[in-house]
């Protein structure tokens, strides 16, 4: 019986995950190194990869800062009533429930060229939708819960006594955070960072809607793959996808490593 289940498990994994990965690799390799290099050095490829890179960095930094802060508020702040905390807690999970396309739509509706806020920004020379800021916002929205959700359970588990002890010894908030809280949540935060990087790199739907997918202007790596597929440019699509897949696997390994360190 046991053998059967294990074999079945292997089969599922192979079909669902392993073979497809191999296919991307072989697909990109169709014309060897040359083909891949050409596809990757197209101006739109370089631009798209750079766009993805920028978004990832900006989103990760912002969401880490605010995510950790919010997690601390939600778990520790004594001045927030328990009802309010519960409500906020459920709200944090909101982006998980929202389809990325809808997420992008919301940004367009709120800040698009036809809206009050949008035209305000545009007059100031600052384009939001169909430009980087909009894409960053969309990705912020989608990846928001990741950091908060990683840090909160850790904070709850370690309890507030060490922090109270620090306060009786004369330490104020910032000092206590650095010396007492941070060492305990460090690995949870790192794991959250890896998750956020992976998610923001992979974001597709929301960014597609918000960016307009304008080649060489607002295209990201993922939307470029989409475009290449639609244009039947399979080799190029595979090459870009290969880069993304390789980074994802690296991230996956990082994830597992950080998870172990966190678990200790």
């Amino acid at each position: 019986m046991k053998r059967l289940w294990i074999t079945l498990t292997y089969i599922v994994f192979t079909i669902l995950l392993i073979i497809p990965l191999i296919r991307i690799f072989t697909g990109a390799w169709a014309e060897g190194w040359q083909g891949i290099a050409e596809a990757l050095t197209r101006p739109q490829s370089l631009h798209a990869l750079m766009m993805t890179g920028m978004i990832v960095v900006i989103v990760t930094v912002i969401n880490t800062l605010f995510g950790v802060m919010l997690a601390i508020y939600l778990v520790r702040a004594p001045w927030l009533g328990p009802r309010v905390k519960q409500l906020l807690n459920s709200l944090v999970d909101l982006p998980f429930a929202v389809s990325p396309v809808i997420g992008g739509l919301m940004i367009v509706l709120l800040l698009g060229p036809n809206t009050v806020i949008g035209t305000f920004f545009e007059a100031a020379g600052f384009k939001v939708v169909y430009a980087l800021p909009g894409m960053v916002l969309a990705t912020l929205f989608v990846t928001f819960p990741l950091m908060v959700r990683e840090v909160m359970p850790v904070l709850q588990e370690i309890g507030s006594q060490q922090e109270e002890a620090a306060s009786t010894l004369g330490a104020y908030s910032w000092y206590t955070f650095w010396k007492v809280t941070w060492p305990s949540i460090r690995w949870g935060v790192i794991y959250g960072v890896v998750l956020t990087v992976a998610r923001s790199m992979g974001e597709f739907g929301a960014v597609l809607v918000v960016s307009g997918n304008i080649m060489n202007k607002t295209q990201t790596a993922t939307t470029l793959v989409y475009q290449d597929v639609e244009n039947f440019n399979v080799l190029a699509a595979n090459s870009v996808a290969l880069v993304l897949a390789a980074i994802s696997i690296a991230l996956l390994l990082l994830m597992e490593w950080a998870k172990k360190r966190k678990g200790h």
Binding site: S167, T168, L169, A171, K179
Partner: protein
């Protein structure tokens, strides 16, 4: 540090945890907050520390109202029940924490930390992490850490609750000595009567948020002022002349000392029920009362009537019967001091060395 508390109140939601508590504490005293779990003792302690805010009432340290001062500024040391040591720091760093916050120089810190390490008997362990220490060692680190910044007031929340029974006794004595030596005003919370009696100069009995009685252990046992206190402390016997009792002859060295003997520490029975018969003395049963789960026995020994309990499993004793009585220990009190005295004869006077 002179501490005054006036009419302290605290609610947790609908639960009225602390009701109109008022008391005064003088500098250098060791006070025990004693009472059943959930009675409000820890809440009072935490409010004194600034870790909780009272709903109403005043807390005054040395003439100054401190209600609005955060814990960082109150000059207190707090020892938590579960030690709350900083897991990622060594023993040295834990103790040094309060000093580093004050930005003292490295040499100053080193001097103070090492002297505390010696004082608490942790020499050689400075570079260990909390998870490499035993319970008793961790407690001592917590203590040293709280003392490092030279606080005016030391607060301890059930400091021995998480410790093995065997080590508890040692640590208790050690703590009391330490605090007396340093002369620091201290308040500790406990639900263990023996601990309170043994360690504290004065006890405050707290039940259901109210202060039932405040006084020396001796006062409380002699004159319980409320129903609750009387039932809480149980029926102990007070003896003026303990030196007359067998095994306690050494007490002549301290005249004017009275003794309090808890019923749990008196054994009565027929001669064949005792292993160290030489430590017992004869007595006569005066009365015997059935208490549902055990017998309450009043036994006369010389001029003293002692109260004790006897299991239902044992042979039933009759009033008027001659029995042997073994007193295990007694609490001795006089105006300046209190301590426990063990029955000296319990030790085999002629040990056989192999």
């Amino acid at each position: 540090m002179h501490i005054e508390v006036k009419d302290l109140n605290k609610h947790f939601g609908d639960f009225h945890a602390v009701r109109g508590v008022s008391f005064d504490i003088q500098k250098g005293r060791l006070i025990g907050l004693l009472g059943p779990s959930g009675g409000g003792k820890t809440s009072i302690l935490r409010m004194l520390a600034g870790l909780e805010k009272p709903d109403s009432g005043d807390i005054i340290f040395h003439g100054r109202r401190v209600n609005d001062l955060p814990p960082q500024e109150r000059g207190i040391g707090f020892v938590f029940q579960n030690y709350a040591l900083f897991k990622h720091m060594t023993v040295y760093d834990n103790i040094a924490f309060g000093l580093k916050v004050k930005k003292q120089s490295k040499e100053q810190i080193r001097e103070r930390v090492m002297s505390l390490v010696e004082l608490t008997g942790l020499k050689g362990f400075e570079h260990r992490y909390p998870n490499q220490l035993s319970g008793g060692q961790r407690q001592r680190v917590a203590f040293a850490r709280a003392l490092a910044p030279e606080p005016q007031l030391l607060l301890l929340d059930e400091p021995f609750a998480a410790i093995d029974a065997k080590i508890r006794q040692e640590l208790r004595t050690w703590l009391k000595d330490m605090i007396e030596r340093l002369g620091i005003t201290s308040i500790f919370v406990t639900h263990d009567q023996d601990e309170a009696i043994e360690v504290a100069d004065e006890i405050m009995i707290i039940n259901k948020g109210r202060l039932e009685q405040k006084g020396s252990p001796w006062d409380i046992y002699k004159n319980p002022q409320t129903q609750f206190v009387a039932s809480f402390i149980g029926e102990s016997t007070i003896v003026s002349d303990i030196a007359k009792l067998r095994g306690f002859e050494d007490a002549v060295a301290w005249p004017d000392t009275k003794a309090l003997i808890r019923p749990e520490y008196i054994e009565v029975g027929r001669p064949n029920e005792f292993s160290i018969i030489s430590a017992t003395e004869p007595g006569r049963i005066k009365h015997i009362h059935f208490r549902g789960s055990e017998w309450m026995v009043e036994v006369e020994v010389g001029e003293v009537t002692l109260i004790t309990y006897r299991s239902l499993e044992k042979e039933v004793l009759q009033p008027g019967q001659e029995v042997q009585v073994l007193i295990h220990r007694a609490y001795l009190f006089n105006d300046s001091d209190s301590w426990i005295m063990e029955n000296k004869l319990k030790e085999d006077p002629m040990p056989i060395h192999i």
